[in-house]
Symmetry: C2
Subunit: 184 residues, 2 copies
């Protein structure tokens, strides 16, 4: 089975190839601009984006919208995580949380898959907290400041294989694989 | 002359009625959802939004997209100023600028007007800086932390009439009025 993955992010592409490849699902890369609507929820954004993209491409494809949602910041940077990261990096998040009582946060991944039958969205979520300071070199984006519950290190300090085994993206992609391999 | 102004913001509506009313242009309020694309530039966002909205309404209308662009934050919060404000208020901006050397910023307003001839965009811009602490009760949004160049107080500390005489929105709306009253 082959699918198109629409992304501009080489890290996400590698992560998806690793996770879906292990299930025998091969990924072709679709590196093109697509319209992303505004919204508060990554699943709604992914669903609409996939619908729009599929209407032009007409081949089975998926895309992913993910975000880091910080409780004390009312869900910021959420659906605009990538944009905020380009503006201020993870240091901005650390600055905003100085003196805040709670550092609770979660990563959410919404994978939208589109084919002739319509669009399906699969979600994955990892609960955790924002570290007091950045740590680690692995991963990308906010990985150096996110500590998943049950672990004493950030996503960026973890072995890549361990992160990929517990990540929000992994969970969402596993659900996609389950759907593709035994559609009901 | 009567125009529709598409906005959810009662403050913007009042400001526009005051500025355009003085020119004999009356404003009806269009309070409905419209699709706003993502983008880095308020003019591009306003132009596309107005085009989309006009295609359904088919009556002369305008809308405005405005943003606060902070140099030391690479233009953050920019096109997402309203969303960021809902998440963290102006206090988030003060937190992000602690220890930063430059506090330079500008407000930009992009007014997009649509009629059967197409869409025209009019821009207004006010240069200034972010105050060390918030001041004033007047205005809305980031007004309590923005000090326009040449003034010793924030937009929110100023008399409303003075702010409305120098604001980015005023400039853009004046250009719209000029276009409507003597189209060339």
């Amino acid at each position: 089975m082959r699918l198109l993955f629409a992304t501009h992010n080489a890290n996400k592409l590698a992560e998806a190839r690793q996770i879906l490849g292990a299930k025998g699902i091969e990924i072709d890369h679709l590196d093109m601009e697509y319209e992303e609507p505004r919204g508060e929820d990554t699943s709604e954004i992914a669903e609409k984006s996939a619908r729009g993209l599929f209407s032009g491409i007409r081949k089975p494809l998926f895309l992913e919208d993910a975000g880091l949602f910080i409780e004390a910041l009312n869900g910021f940077p959420g659906p605009y995580s990538a944009w905020v990261f380009r503006k201020m990096g993870y240091q901005g998040i650390l600055d905003l949380l100085k003196g805040k009582g709670s550092r609770r946060a979660h990563f959410k991944s919404s994978v939208a898959y589109a084919d002739d039958n319509g669009v399906r969205v699969f979600e994955g979520k990892v609960e955790g907290s924002i570290a007091m300071q950045a740590g680690g070199e692995s991963g990308f984006g906010y990985d150096p400041v996110f500590v998943p519950d049950g672990y004493g290190e950030t996503f960026a300090e973890m072995d890549r294989a361990i992160k990929n085994s517990i990540s929000h993206r992994k969970m969402a992609l596993e659900k996609l694989a389950g759907h593709l391999l035994s559609p009901s």
